[in-house]
Amino acid sequence: MLLIHCPYCDETLPELEFTHAGEAHIARPENHGGLSDSDWESYLFIRTNVKGPQYERWRHLHGCGRFFNAVRNTVTDRFLTTYKADEPRPELSTLTGDEK
């Protein structure tokens, strides 16, 4: 069972309270009308699918209900950090994984 730190509740809670919500930092393109089919493909369907530290979204569904971001190593499933949705993406080199 994963233990996940919700940055809004500031508590570390069992996986069952959370839902995974896919890759993080994928911004919806602004000029919809001018987008090519390949741009739509990249936005809607192409995923980085990292083997290693991955930026991803989670939702504290059975708690505060809010979306937040996380960096998790997809090989070990260990969380390196979690952060609020409007905070900038942390540099991987700054992450030690020693989060509580």
Binding site: W40, S42, F45, K51, E56
Partner: protein, 417 residues
Amino acid sequence: MSRFNALNLLKNALSGNKNWTEQWPDSQPKSEYDVIIVGAGGHGLGAAYYLATQHGITNIAVIDKGWLGGGNTGRNTTIIRSNYLYDESARLFDHALDLWQDLSQELNYNVMYSNRGVLMLAHTVHDVQSFKRHVHSNRLNGVDNQWLTKEECKEYCPPLSIDPNARYPVVGGALQKRAGTARHDAVAWGYARGAAARGVDIIQNCSVNAIRRNADGSVAGVETDKGYIRAKKVAVSAAGHTSVVMETAGVRMPLESYPLQALVSEPIKPIFPCVVMSNAVHAYISQSDKGELVIGSGTDQYTSYSQRGGLPLIEHTVAAITEIFPMFNRMRMLRKWGGIVDVTPDRSAIISKTPVEGLYVNCGWGTGGFKATPGAAHTFAHTIAKNEPHPINAPFTLDRFRTGRLIDEAAAAAVAH
């Protein structure tokens, strides 16, 4: 390689089974091949087998980072069926089902294909409506599928509880009689043996670390643990690791990799005659020829390469199974494991050419590609040999995510496996 027949079995039995020769050699790489297949699962080995037997191409290496069949091929719960909703899928999976019928004879290797039937349970009025629609649509496509009342379900599968007060009451079911199971390892071994006998090199414990391209963009070869190997064509069939391998050729994939788990009980006497699955509770069960109950469900919720998965899902699965089959509630489970499955946005596979000349990909089988093994391998071999798809896999392109011609089995919501 000696052929298996009654005489041979008897001869070897009399000499204590000590004189069997090896079924395929442990090959070392040559410096160049016509075709390199990345991934020695059933799909990759099968593609090599059909390239050799149907297209006369034998200068092939199948390379795996582990042992052959050690990926999802050796980890799956072996359900074989073809009652998918869309025309494209029905054709592809029914093609595979046709090939399963005499695969043991074709390979001279017993893959233990058993058409014991797959029964999908309906628990609600909505299930009944969508299953009946599904049955009709399958029949229009010439795919075997039939509706059973709950009493008929009970008759087909006596251990089933049809108690109306159950947590998930059974109100009927859809039965594909032609569906069933097979021995997963034997499928990999049979194709490996057949391919090796025709000159294919099977190279194990050798990771492909990068795909190299020529100045004109076309495929040049692969970097591996055992050095650089040139190739005219490279065909990737690496299941959960497809994104990682394709990235090295500069191709980004519409895939996400999830752990999918399964578990088996201690072996017991034959009690369970068929395969039963339930979309609503997300669990399925059958009994292996060794006597273990084989139990599985959906993927874990988060992407991962950990090949392990979490316990909450196992708890959910076992809870669901014991609701539908209360008689199993004191069975002891022997072991559980996970595999990494590559999932596409529309939950349909990709068997396709790629933007890179000479590079081909077969992936996106997600939670349900074992059943497709012969069909996928056969059409993938055709695509590689002819540099164009077989009519059956033609809709399963990589570029459908750009053109929008999705094959939306996700929305059709037949549960996976």
